[in-house]
Symmetry: C2
Subunit: 480 residues, 2 copies
């Protein structure tokens, strides 16, 4: 009991936020003032929406619960090395996030992925080069065949209305794991896809609707590119940290973003919305909610949102992840011929990436603890968790992993404002039942958030798309 | 938009609550006073827990958000006829609820079920006698065979830990609908089970985990008795209304139950819990939460509940139901040789029961609008909804159903404190992932609620069991 409570009290450790946005002109004169639009949430989707609205001269205010912008992106300083404890990667086809980085002068760099990779499967360690893990010929054939099959099925899912896919009811009636159980012959191919689900969604394959899985592949770039580094969605990172994007967007909006203002209630009438934060009241023509659907449940709406929307909010769930950056004096794994990539089917650490700075000056490994492992890790004491994570790295990369020079972790399960990461996910039976409520406005309330994107949902790119789309909806409504 | 907002503003219509509990000795002296136990929620589970605690001389307070006791039981008066807008029925094997009714002097009566029954399937109306609907020989054989198979599989599910069933992962990876799709040959047998799921859970078969479905059969009395009237869980009702049970329990606890006190936050330390309602603070040794798991998400816990518990709360969902009582001058259907029972696979009204008083003096039909139909009905204007429901009754029972003498409905989807009915349900992938958190105390916080019962979960009987079990846990902890 004592240990559990102590563990629960554990919080993020490590350096300070390395990129900051300070409010300017924050007269907090909200009460009484009337806006065109109130945006809830200063993550990428809310800030992208606000940017579009302000460009079109709409009087806009962004209310953010946290004392920082960036939502599920969070950059910290660890001994002069900016590391991302939240969203981090981008890849080919993600033009929105790439364009924004270019505009803001944030350089990108390639994730290091040359060298041997480590696979821990069924209690045995092996190494491999290229894309194909050492799982035996049958499993390899099955992996290749299944990946082609995923992409062929995903091609049938319309990205703007996955519930209209030809087999939507069938695919939404089964979890990804159950589908794998029925379709796959080899234990090892199944294990690889289960780790892939953990890496891609921070959830177990048994938690995910197969229809949602196909939708996310279709709305991204297919299985291999969604899951991969080289040529895939994890190909690059933002030098200096992904939170810079939100900070850059917010700096373009002087006086617009108000931090430390969690929205508690939204009333709407025929003519306006009235948004109540802890301390202030904001009146506006429309509202845009830039939150994961599940988080909208915290806001008291009057009149209530539609039953379908409420149920969507209550049934989507957010992934579970603890993200750790373990710094070393040198990138010893590179010296040993490893890329720094590893996957494991047991222990806490399931996925490892190289997380050195672009020039390799600062050395670190990035360890993901997803799904069941995250729920378990979250209940350990900070000391026990750290030790278990470092032990896992040792079994993957050898004894030199035992002596990190620094360690920083973030438990997104316990983050009070995200309550999970990476994104809101669909269990079976939700997308085909109340999925139509995902993007549908409820009166004067519009919905952004990466979960609502039709291209790269669940990625930073999707967050930007969703904000732009919500802003366009509102601008269109204001015209009519 | 205007119509939608008006519809959203719709509220319960009909008479006043016919059974009432008034607070006595409500000095509201909570601040500072220390209790042994704070119970959250004055539904059957919370009141049953409080009853046990007070018997054992534990200083107990029950905090209830509503201005009434009874939770998901709600009895209203419609022209001198007490009708249940919430939980209503009991049957053989439900000894706890039967004993309580006897103790409180609340008589039970049989639900009328003699006469022809009406089936609306695939756009065609038919009538049948006995238990077997007219669905053709093949479908009948398949119905009988599948019911036996359900019960055989359910027998493998341990009621206190369904996640340990031999095929738990497989069964939890698939929805009930998907299982039916794969296993059944006849369209009509499948349709019958889909209506059964709507009737039994107020949800669609595609929303439910097959493992949860089997668990609920096992923890009840098997498919036919869980779903049935005669010999089943809908065999009897409480004359004068089910809310009388809660009112009776509350009257035994003078000064203990405090209405209009929604609990907003619970802090716990090594030594105590501090429970904050809107206006007051209560200190106690332990807390018992007598709410559906999903509703616990509204309470801010410090330190937070375990990750598994949080995720369970966020992923279980509550059924969707609008319950209507349509009163007539005479029970015309009985005169026409009908029992009053009907099932339909389209329209709003999916299940109809006779709802006359025991002596047939007051005549009424009870219409359930579950699942998708409830979500649809909830968005109609009150006038349009009433008309659609009466039209459905006309197509089932003829023109005489067109002229009710009274009409009362309750939309549980929009109930602010239950946000759905009958109970919290499991989508695929939850019970096998975080199910162990269902009943596990988090420090000094214990969980009651019908969802946590091992016998008759989802029924009033299960609510009583859960309250008694939680009280026993707390009494045991207080001793040690």
């Amino acid at each position: 009991m004592a240990t559990e409570l102590e563990a629960q009290g554990a919080d993020v450790k490590g350096g300070n936020t390395s990129v900051e946005f300070d409010e300017v002109n924050m007269a907090r004169s909200g009460d009484g003032q009337r806006f065109d639009v109130v945006v809830v949430g200063a993550g990428l989707s809310g800030l992208a929406a606000a940017g579009r609205l302000v460009e079109r001269r709409a009087a806009t205010v962004v209310l953010e619960a946290r004392e920082r912008v960036g939502g599920r992106t969070l950059t910290k300083d660890i001994a002069g090395h900016a590391v991302d404890l939240g969203g981090q990667f981008l890849g080919p086809g993600q033009d929105r996030v790439r364009d924004l980085a270019r505009e803001l002068g944030v350089p990108t760099a390639r994730v290091h992925c040359t060298g041997r990779k480590v696979l821990w499967l069924g209690g045995r360690r092996s190494e491999y080069c290229g894309r194909t893990p050492k799982v035996g010929l049958l499993a390899l054939l099955e992996l290749a065949w299944t990946i082609r099959r995923f992409d062929r099925l995903a091609a049938l899912v319309p990205t703007d209305r996955p519930w209209d896919a030809p087999n939507a009811a069938e695919w939404d009636g089964v979890s990804l794991e159950r589908w794998l159980d029925k379709q796959l012959w080899t234990r090892r191919a199944k294990a690889v896809f289960q780790i892939a689900a953990q890496a891609m969604y921070a959830a177990e394959a048994r938690e995910l609707s197969f229809l949602y899985f196909l939708f996310s592949l279709r709305a991204g770039a297919g299985f291999e590119r969604n899951a991969g580094i080289e040529g895939g969605a994890q190909q690059e990172f933002l030098v200096g940290g992904a939170q810079q994007l939100s900070v850059g967007l917010a700096r373009r909006l002087p006086g617009v973003v108000r931090l430390g203002e969690p929205v508690e209630a939204i009333e709407q009438t025929e003519d306006e919305v009235v948004v109540h934060s802890h301390a202030h009241t904001y009146r506006a023509g429309r509202a845009i909610i830039g939150l994961a659907p599940g988080l909208c449940e915290r806001i008291r709406f009057t009149p209530e949102l539609t039953p379908a929307r409420r149920q969507l909010q209550r049934r989507m769930f957010t992934g579970s992840v603890v993200k750790c950056i373990v710094a070393y004096k040198t990138p010893f794994w590179r010296d040993d011929g490893y890329s720094g990539e590893a996957v494991a089917d047991d222990g806490l650490v399931r996925i490892v990436f190289d997380d050195c700075t672009g020039d390799g000056d600062k050395a670190a490994l990035l360890a993901f603890i997803p799904g069941d492992a995250a729920r378990k890790a979250s209940c350990l004491t900070p000391e026990a968790r750290r030790q278990a994570i470092i032990d896992d790295l040792v079994r993957l990369f050898g004894e030199r992993a035992a002596r990190p020079s620094d360690y920083v972790e973030y438990d997104w399960i316990r983050d009070p404002w995200s309550v999970g990461c990476y994104v809101g996910l669909h269990p079976p039976g939700v997308l085909s039942t109340v999925g139509t409520a995902l993007r549908a406005p409820c009166g004067r309330v519009h919905f952004a958030g990466s979960e609502t994107a039709t291209r790269w949902p669940g990625f930073m790119d999707g967050a930007l798309e969703s904000g732009e789309r919500a802003a366009a909806e509102v601008l269109e409504a204001m015209r009519s």
